[in-house]
Amino acid sequence: MTSLTQSLWVLLLGSLLGFELIGKVPPTLHTPLMSGANAISGITMLASLTLIQQAGGNTPLQIIGALSLGFALFNVIGGFLVTDRMLAMFRRKGNS
């Protein structure tokens, strides 16, 4: 049970952190921020990896794990690259 309470603490503190991290966002950055946060939500790939590990010799489970890893990585890699592409266009010109 301690691990559950621990996990719930982690959930609570993580949520509070998320609420505080972004306050004022300039409209310019709304799309990149959404896209970047979206890439981070692909962190679920860690669960896919764990699933493949735990599958042992269970092939159907390994296939489900590999597929979900594929979808999660599509989200993560595509998300970060696309965010970078957008932000690369904001390189500052002239002064400051």
């Binding site: 966002v25 950055l29 709304h30 979206n38 939500s41 860690l46 896919s48 979900s68 904001f90």
Partner: protein, 476 residues
């Protein structure tokens, strides 16, 4: 508590969480955004390496990891590189849907093959993960299809019957979740997935295109929640923190967007489409609704520009569709060489996503300082000679200020009607995405220039060049 090498993975997890928070924080400032994105990506890589060190994968495990990496990684790289900037909102929706699907599949896998030995916490987490993952997936795909124009808003989704249907689906999900408690691998599993997917469709489909940015942001928040739930399923605290952070940050961003549109989240989610159903066919604002339209040729518009001292461009979705950002930049350069003061008025929700226009104009190398936000530029319109509206509609509708009966009433808009002369570049007189007629088009100082934004801008360019505009600078 000695720190030994065996604790390296835990330390890496902590560093990953720190970098992720710095990443999200940095992404909200222009100066640090790009580095922050890299930081977040590094954090994710660190988390993966930490997990792999911890778990000593076998050869077969490596093989399956490689399969997933090849499939998803390749598709991700190709999509990210190929997709045009104009299709950014749909792309984010697609990525988001796949993230939700991944969480759904993890829960499904655990339930099907390890469900029997799972404890109560896992069973609850599996139900939540299935539910949120399925809604995120089907909702994101519907959002993408609507943005792509593959799906319209069917009339039946606007009747209040949909609330009953959605409520029934939600109750079905709850019932299936309760059944999962006693039998985690039973048929209730599939009932949960199907009912939650249908609920995702049922909730997203009635929402009009104008509100789609808010929906994508909210679905993004959901995919964070789905990841956190998957964290409970497999017992990964890193996953829980990261998922919770994204879920919470996504909610804040959704709130920021709602404020910009003067809409409440509940009215977006349950209020149906602005201006009624089948918005793209015209809704309340078909051509017959207009009586006092003046149209003019690019030539007349060019003459007005040549005389102007101060010109403001108002970009909208039409500019993105026509891929006209480079032509616009060229026209602006020509006018600047002629001594005209040029700026761009950016409405927070112009386009299909907040910040859409900034991204588009940045691609055409428009200087950042010339993009002026709504609050700053509104007082400037009375001293503006010419405003050119390029494929924007609802965000310049004066009825949002003066007509309490308009569905847009109360939404902050660009007050372009204060300018001396207004040209609206538009393909036809069809209604905007929200399906509402625009009083701006009928004002005496407004003239419509019909045509594709790119064609019109190129026409203006050649007219102005024909007049010798831009050449006089060489003589000075």
């Amino acid at each position: 508590m000695n720190l030994s090498l065996s604790q390296l993975p835990q330390v890496m997890d902590l560093v990953a969480v720190l970098l992720l928070s710095l990443g999200i924080k940095g992404l909200s400032k222009v100066r640090s955004a790009r580095a922050a994105n890299g930081l977040a990506a590094l954090a994710m890589a660190l988390a993966v390496v930490g997990l792999l060190i911890q778990s000593h994968p076998t050869t077969t495990t490596w093989l399956w990891i490689a399969v997933g990496l090849a499939l998803g990684g390749l598709a991700g790289v190709v999509t990210a590189m190929k997709v045009p900037m104009t299709a950014m909102p749909e792309t984010v929706a697609l990525f988001n849907g796949c993230g939700g699907l991944a969480s759904l599949m993890v829960a499904l896998g655990v339930a099907l093959f390890q469900g029997a030995e799972s404890g109560g916490v896992e069973r609850v987490s599996i139900a939540i993960s299935l539910f949120v993952g399925a809604i995120t997936f089907s909702g994101s795909i519907v959002a993408m299809a609507k943005l792509q124009g593959w799906l319209e808003t069917p009339a039946w989704t606007q009747s209040s019957l949909r609330h009953a249907v959605n409520l029934a689906l939600a109750l079905l999900c709850l019932g299936a979740a309760l059944l999962l408690w006693s039998e985690p691998a039973g048929p209730a599993l599939w009932l949960e997935v199907v009912a939650a997917s249908l609920l995702g469709i049922g909730v997203t489909l009635p929402i009009g295109g104008a509100d789609m940015p808010v929906v994508i942001s909210l679905l993004n928040s959901y995919s964070g929640v789905a990841a956190a739930a998957a964290g409970f399923v497999v017992g990964s605290q890193l996953l829980i923190v990261a998922g919770a952070m994204v879920g919470a940050a996504g909610l804040i961003l959704t709130q920021v967007m709602c404020t910009a549109m003067n809409r409440s989240l509940t009215s977006v989610l349950f209020g149906g489409a602005l201006g009624g159903a089948t918005t793209s066919v015209g809704g309340g604002g078909s051509e017959a609704g207009y009586t006092r339209i003046t149209s003019c040729s690019p030539e007349e518009c060019a003459m007005a520009l040549e005389q102007a001292e101060r010109v403001v461009f108002v970009p909208g979705y039409g500019l993105a569709v026509a891929q006209a950002q480079h032509s616009l930049r060229e026209l602006a350069k020509l006018l600047e060489a002629h001594g005209v003061e040029v700026s761009y008025a950016i409405h927070p929700v112009a386009g299909r996503m907040p910040g859409h226009m900034n991204v588009l104009l940045a691609e055409a190398d428009v200087p950042y300082e010339q993009l002026i936000e709504m609050e700053t530029i509104n007082p400037e319109f009375p001293r503006t000679d010419v405003v050119i509206v390029l494929g924007a509609n609802d965000v310049v509708n004066p009825q949002a200020k003066n007509d309490p009966t308009s569905p847009l009433y109360g939404m902050p808009v660009l007050e372009v009607d204060q300018a001396r002369q207004i040209f609206v570049v538009k393909r036809s007189l069809g209604a905007g995405y929200a399906g509402i007629a625009n009083a701006l088009f009928e004002l005496p100082q407004t003239a419509m220039v019909f045509g594709d934004a790119k064609a019109v801008l190129n026409g203006l360019l050649s007219e102005l060049r024909g007049m010798g505009v831009g050449k006089e600078k060489a003589l000075v």
